[in-house]
């Protein structure tokens, strides 16, 4: 950066270009330790999930009742055949944990996308139109916030069964509020900015303004909220599964694995410690990424 005072005033025209916004972002991103750690965690877990079919030593669904509850390799009778041991049906625990990453990502990402779609649409409309539309959306948000998420999710999943897509749909329908609130307030701020007024004065249609002018400016907040909601959805799914009303067995979901191992907590703590730690680690990674992205997009001091 050249001296900013030189850029203005007399030397206006010969001033060099400052770095582009994306260059600045990269610069900040590279120096952000939390973002680096978070991305590393998320990357590794994602890799485990994607490469599960190649790296998992066994079929995660293959049961063998004669090999039930084998201990992990670090315990007394552990073998390298089953690094993390086996579960109550004799399935390889490591393979199930690896495949579990897929489920967590699948649920987290699709629930966040679903709720993003709902929330962003409502938030955009409310923020842009204001007035009555805003009142209606705000009312929706209040109703949504007034519903206790865990209870309603439990009730709904118990009614419709724990199919993966049902869990995703329920979570999507319950987690859109933060998107709506954030998008609404960001849109309100943007709406009064002159470039939006200018676009209208130039004759841009409303969809063009919403999607072409406003949406690109909302990507930052959406990414931040999105990452937090992915983490939220993963945690919520694991809680539902823990209470027996999440995705159904034999799906290797981490929350379900904790629930299945719960009975053995005092005798074979690996059954819970491993999937529980996997959830915590992934959620931690995603949260770190989310925080990092927020810092990078809106560095303290100026937005």
């Amino acid at each position: 950066m050249s001296s900013p005072s030189l850029e203005q005033g007399l030397s206006n025209q010969i001033a060099d270009l400052r770095p582009t916004p994306s260059q600045l972002m990269w610069r900040r991103a590279r120096n952000h330790r939390g973002l680096a750690i978070g991305s590393l965690i998320v990357f590794i877990v994602l890799l485990c999930g994607l490469a599960a079919p190649f790296i998992a030593p066994h079929d995660p669904y293959a049961q063998d009742l004669t090999k039930r509850l084998l201990p992990a390799v670090w315990s007394e009778n552990g073998t390298w055949e089953h690094v993390f041991g086996t579960d109550a049906l004799g399935r390889d625990y490591l393979s199930r944990i690896l495949y579990g990453a897929r489920i967590s990502f699948l649920i987290g990402i699709s629930a966040a996308l679903g709720s993003c779609l709902i929330g962003a649409a409502l938030g955009l409309l409310a923020g842009y139109y204001g007035g009555r539309v805003d009142s209606v959306v705000t009312f929706f948000v209040s109703v949504r916030l007034a519903l206790p998420v865990v209870l309603v999710a439990l009730a709904t999943v118990s009614l419709f069964g724990g199919k993966l897509w049902i869990v995703v749909a329920v979570l999507s329908l319950l987690l859109w509020d933060r998107f709506a609130v954030v998008v609404r307030s960001a849109t309100m701020q943007l709406r009064s900015q002159e470039f939006v007024v200018a676009a209208r004065a130039m004759g841009c249609s409303t969809p063009r303004i919403l999607l072409g002018e406003l949406l690109p400016n909302l990507v930052g907040p959406l990414v931040v909220v999105g990452s937090l909601e992915i983490a939220h959805a993963i945690l919520l799914e694991s809680a539902l599964s823990f209470l027996g009303l999440g995705v159904q067995p034999p799906t290797p979901s981490w929350g379900l694995m904790v629930a299945e191992g719960k009975g053995m907590i005092f005798f074979d703590s690996r059954l819970i410690a491993l999937p529980g730690a996997a959830i915590a680690l992934l959620v931690l990674g995603i949260n770190l990424v989310g925080d990092g992205v927020r810092d990078v997009l809106a560095p303290e001091g100026k937005a």
Binding site: G34, F139, S142, V143, L145, A146, L147, P148, V149, V150, L151, V152, L154, A155, T156, S158, L159, F160, A231, L235, S238, A239, F242, L243, L245, G255, V258, K262, I265, F266, S269, I272, A273, G276, I279, A280, L281, V283, L284, N287, L288, D291, E300, G301
Partner: protein, 305 residues
Amino acid sequence: MLRFILSRLAIAIMVAFAVSGICFGLMFLAGDPALAIAGEGATEADLEVIRRRFGFDRPIIVQYGSWLLHVVQGDFGDSYYFGTPVVSLIAERFRATLKLGGLAILVALVLAVPLGILAATSQNRLADRIALTIGTIGQATPSFWLGLMLISLFAVELRWLPVSGSATFAHFILPSLVLGYYAAPSMLRLCRAGMIEALRSDYVRTARAKGLLPVQILGGHALRNAILPVISVAAVEFGFILGGSVVVESVFGIRGIGMLAWESISRNDFPTVQAIILIYAMLYVWLTFLADVINAWLDPRIRMN
């Protein structure tokens, strides 16, 4: 102010109405409640008896209408499962949940506010990093897992604290820690952000230019402004804690309202589930209202208008 209260009240009623409609509709989609009441082995004849007895043979809209009419009079009907009035059931269970929620929010505040202030004043330095890490880990740890781990450590290994139940104060220590730790991070961040914003604000610069001492600036100027959103969020968070206590209650065997809700869901006990969801909704609305009032009371800009 009266107008403010009236319009909030109208919204509260509308929200409650919408929520009641949603949960009634939800429950209607469930299996036959008669089966749930009769339990295993009921015959068609038994079910007929039960249906007639509880009025399930009426059209849905009539059922909703009559339910709503009773609710307005404070009568949520009888629990299908217990056969006792839902209101007394909830009143009985609410004490434990309220105690848990109150302690949890206390834990959260005690954790969040000092850490938030510390983090803000030592921004980007070690203390800040540590505070944020504590927060981030709290947000990432599934509370059921943390609860189980704490039980196995403090209750089973060390035997310092009871495993489950709600008889004494000691019973509430672990669950309120778990719940409070989960609720703390959002308040911590808010407190930190509010504090940072306040410390960076023009009025703090003015205060420094006036020669005030750091303690005066922190306590008299910055905190007053930074704590405003934290207080209102704490009120709302309290609602969320109560609504989200299901998991913790089930892990720690606290027979509070969350547990009641969960069990009522599993046994299709409509009136109880409906009442709980509705009461939570009302509680939430009431708490946000309270938060607004507190905020208005603390913030002259709102109070005066």
